[in-house]
Symmetry: C2
Subunit: 221 residues, 2 copies
């Protein structure tokens, strides 16, 4: 398989226009065939030692979704309280679309299966990283399907583990909101709203050794 300049431009457009979405069309739905393609993309992700430490749980039950939504609201309030002087600014932001998105999924890291290949020295980091690669594939697949996706991390993993009846050792990493949106943010929502400004690429590249650069937004939550 040899890719062309057209394929390259297409992928880079998907990568550049992908957004962490919190605003969804509450009347939207996701075609089951499209959902299958998005999940297949996730499952094609790399994983250390081919451990594939992910489980995708579709939340179909309305009561279960509401239980999760209430927990996320609680965590949002706890986060607000911990933010000090930026509490009110944070509370004015829409930070999740758990109730409105067409499809709610949880991505759960499964209990460690003991894989040693490539993770003798960093077992937990490599399992988390493998799940994150799957979620990033899911994100790009959603975007190319013209669907919005948001990764909600405003929850206590131990509480969500119990809500979803996961075994001990499983670890929910993401609540994924998926579905049609009215419009994609032009820029990351945290930049559009003035919450925080991203760094330039140049500030993230070094040669040979780690350089002691100050981040332009140091100290900002």
């Amino acid at each position: 398989m040899h890719f062309s300049r057209t394929d390259q431009d297409s992928l880079y457009s998907v990568i550049r226009s992908r957004r962490d979405m919190r605003h969804f069309d509450p009347q939207g739905s996701v075609d089951p065939v499209v959902l299958e393609r998005v999940l297949a993309a996730a499952h094609h992700a790399p994983s250390v030692g081919l451990m594939q430490p992910w489980r995708f749980i579709r939340i179909l039950d309305d009561v279960l979704r509401e239980t999760i939504a209430e927990h996320v609201t609680e965590e949002r309030l706890r986060t607000a309280s911990s933010l000090g002087s930026r509490k009110e600014e944070f509370q004015a932001l829409k930070v999740e679309g758990v109730r409105e998105c067409a499809e709610l999924l949880a991505v759960v890291m499964v209990p460690d299966d003991g894989t040693l290949f490539g993770r003798r020295t960093m077992p937990r980091e490599m399992a988390v990283a493998s799940c994150a690669c799957a979620i990033q594939n899911m994100w790009l697949a959603s975007r190319v399907e013209n669907l919005g996706m948001g990764w909600v991390s405003l929850f206590d993993p131990e509480i969500v583990r119990k809500i979803l009846q996961c075994p001990t050792g499983a670890f929910p990493l993401a609540l994924v909101c998926l579905g049609p949106v009215q419009a994609f943010y032009q820029e990351p929502m945290l930049e559009e709203t003035g919450w925080r400004k991203g760094r330039s690429l140049a500030e993230s590249i070094d040669e040979n050794f780690y350089a002691d650069k100050k981040s332009i937004d140091e100290g900002i939550e």
Copy 2:
């Protein structure tokens, strides 16, 4: 930006044909313009609270690359020793291309900047996940540029941190081998060599609650 069926097919082809490469063309090189596009793709990754916790270090110095390669060899031997009955089978596999790849980079997670947004409850997992999303973007960008990429995790992060003169609290997550390859593996190399077989997508999907499925390859390293 609305994507078409052509864009969708293209992205899914990239996702399906991406491989963790260990065999590189030792005479290969990467056009600086292409490298810039690949790193820009990485930098366009999502990050929790827009923290962008990644640093990309290009290893240009030959002596530095050799120091890293020697450390990776040591860790490969330690991993082999820990694998018990599969030690020899592991030793017969080519597991990294640090010496042969055209470009060697380290992806380092920067010291925690205290971002609370979206990571009050899972600070470390969300920083690792953000870096992994960047690496996955890098992987897909490399593939669409017809370059091979391998994520080497056979190293002690504390030793590599010191080799790269990273500050306390920084954490090298990946040594990234990048460059031209003679051919991409048709299937993940660990499947082609019979090391391990992946699960089906269906085995990774649940509805509402986590189901107690036995992995088909349970117990395999």
